[in-house]
Amino acid sequence: FVGAGGGNDIQWCFSQVKGAVDDDVAEADIISTVEFNHSGELLATGDKGGRVVIFQQEQENKTQSHSRGEYNVYSTFQSHEPEFDYLKSLEIEEKINKIRWLPQKNAAQFLLSTNDKTIKLWKISERDKRPEGYNLKEEDGRYRDPTTVTTLRVPVFRPMDLMVEASPRRIFANAHTYHINSISINSDYETYLSADDLRINLWHLEITDRSFNIVDIKPANMEELTEVITAAEFHPNSCSTFVYSSSKGTIRLCDMRASALCDRHSKLFEEPEDPSNRSFFSEIISSISDVKFSHSGRYMMTRDYLSVKIWDLNMENRPVETYQVHEYLRSKLCSLYENDCIFDKFECCWNGLDRQAAFPTDVLLCSSPSCSIVMTGSYNNFFRMFDRNTKRDVTLEASRENNKPRTVLKPRKVCASGKRKKDEISVDSLDFNKKILHTAWHPKENIIAVATTNNLYIFQDKMN
């Protein structure tokens, strides 16, 4: 990868970092989701405090051809507030679990944000003009005494400082008994699904007072529960197809045309467990924390605690590729169980569509699929990238130290055992409090957003 030469290897450079500098992290500032919009111009983050912060990329400056536009704060709003369910004596956290952007249809931008129970559709719009010259109102809003009006004028729009407003347009509530873990917008751009531990619901974006339940894995007797839903996503092209992953490491593909309730899968993707790896924690580490379709929809990627797997939708009995993210942790599972790190839910993402790719479909370009790099996070503020073509991988670090703009990131290496070489880090000195759970890749360019606990790092490839 980095510095390895070769035409297609990406050299990642530090670009920006957002967020507080000090080590004392306020819980509300912990970033819980990161998502680029469809054009890549906007980058949204959600945090534990229920806030959404949207960054906007500056227009590329002709004079600064060596770097792409920077991301600056565009809008900040409080999406969700803490709530209390009095009937069940349960507090509902305001933490934003997921943000998904809708494709842009007009001047405004729309996104869905969700906490554990409620999904909201937000409209983000710009206002750069305002009407002036009302007859009955002063400029400051006070009403004028009508008897003092002697002439009439037509109000006109005058430019004003840009104001970005966020307003909730729809609130989709009361449809989930359990905690929502995923939302996914359908390729028809009219419907979307929301998934909690046991159920998946289908919504229409315009309709808030009802949703259709399309998957229900709640057993009649809860004593028989053996798995929960951990993630769900619509197929990028086929509007009747979606997948959901489970805590048992399986992925089910369902077709909504088959029946109203998709409890019976069309395909079941499962890799048999390697018995030599059996441990107390086998069930935990096989639980899938994220599932993402490739752009073409031919492949999907899943993340479990130690690895990333690429599945071909045409082959159910095993993944086509498996990448070990931090295999050196396998012998530490006990401690990771004690300190709860083993429950961390890492996400994964595909690279964006490279400008150089002629066709977005993997099928046509089998020799060099455009979804060729996968990225996921790890501990010690490390994140990993795997190149499916070259089979090379790299470990990079998101850190404020040694990171000046346009500095190429140095690859890191973890020493699993034995003699530690210079510049390597031993497993025992990894900081498990510094974890990268959320990463995102710009849909069109080689720009990545990597979230540490409370900071957002933006890296770009080095443009020559």
């Binding site: 009937l87 069940k88 004596s89 349960l90 507090e91 509902i92 956290e93 933490k95 554990d116 008994t177 359990y178 905690h179 873990n181 531990d197 046991l198 709640k218 007797n221 809860m222 004593e223 028989e224 529960l225 053996t226 798995e227 929960v228 951990t230 805590s247 790896n277 059996r278 441990s279 107390f280 924690f281 086998s282 069930e283 935990i284 639980s287 396998r330 012998s331 599972l333 006990c334 401690s335 169980y337 004690e338 709860d340 429950f343």
Partner: protein
Amino acid sequence: MECTLDAQSLISISLRKIHSSRTQRGGIKLHKNLLVSYVLRNARQLYLSERYAELYRRQQHYPDGAPLLAMPVCPPPAAAAPPELAALPLPADTQDREARSCGAARGGAELLEVPVCAAPPELQRAPCRDSSPGFYRAPGSAGPGGGGGGAAPGLLYAAGCDFGSGGAPHCSSRTTVLDLDTHVVTTVENGYLHQDCCSQCPCCCQPAPGLASPPPAPGTKRKYYPGQEEEEEGVEEGEPGGGGVAGGPPFAPCTKRARFEEYSAEHPQDSSNISNLISIFGSGFTGLVSRQQADSEQPLNGQLCSKQALASLGAWTRAIVAF
């Protein structure tokens, strides 16, 4: 896989996690609790297999059947016991166990129960059968066996009693489940709680009235074999009043509850009793002790039962879920 913790510690850590998940913001996380229940099940299976192996070994030394004392079973262990033990399939009954231990948290969102005990059905013996449910109710609820009575909504807990120790009949989880969707309360019964287990619990297990067979007087509760005596007596002393109840039907619920309420009021004594138990059984539960103290100051949702360490050799391990 190398694990620095033994099965016992894993079990206690897991129970602690389930306990603390109840007080976390956002409510009980079903997914996490389900995963923890898997660890519980795995650890328990290993623990059981180790115990059975040990028992079998001892049995070789004491061919007259005495050691099945290791089974703190009500009446003297039936002669049939050893063969049963020997024949115990390990890991036994995984589906059943799985279901039951998964209950540790599958109810996560609805109900927290840790029916961590489940001896294989073949070890269930009539004399020891005791229809006492191994669960706790909120103080003030009606007698045992009833419905959810005065239980706090959705918060009934089953006592994990015996870890399916060879001789003991499998423990009951008569669990009461509040369905968060329909708000229907249903009671599910399966199995029995060994009354000796109750006797160890300082404050829980309300055995049902009308016991099938009289439990042994505490003194004859189990047979001791050399080397065991001190420990078990210690157990008797150490436990806060459970063993002291005269033989005959085990602790009337009221008595137990009353005792418990006393204890929670005077939590120093509670914690000292716990410390006693802990030191006797040789596990490190300091974290639980401190939590116990903290908890006893808070309003109780369900009955707090002191957490039990797992016994060292010779006495059966028990995990009593502390809430």
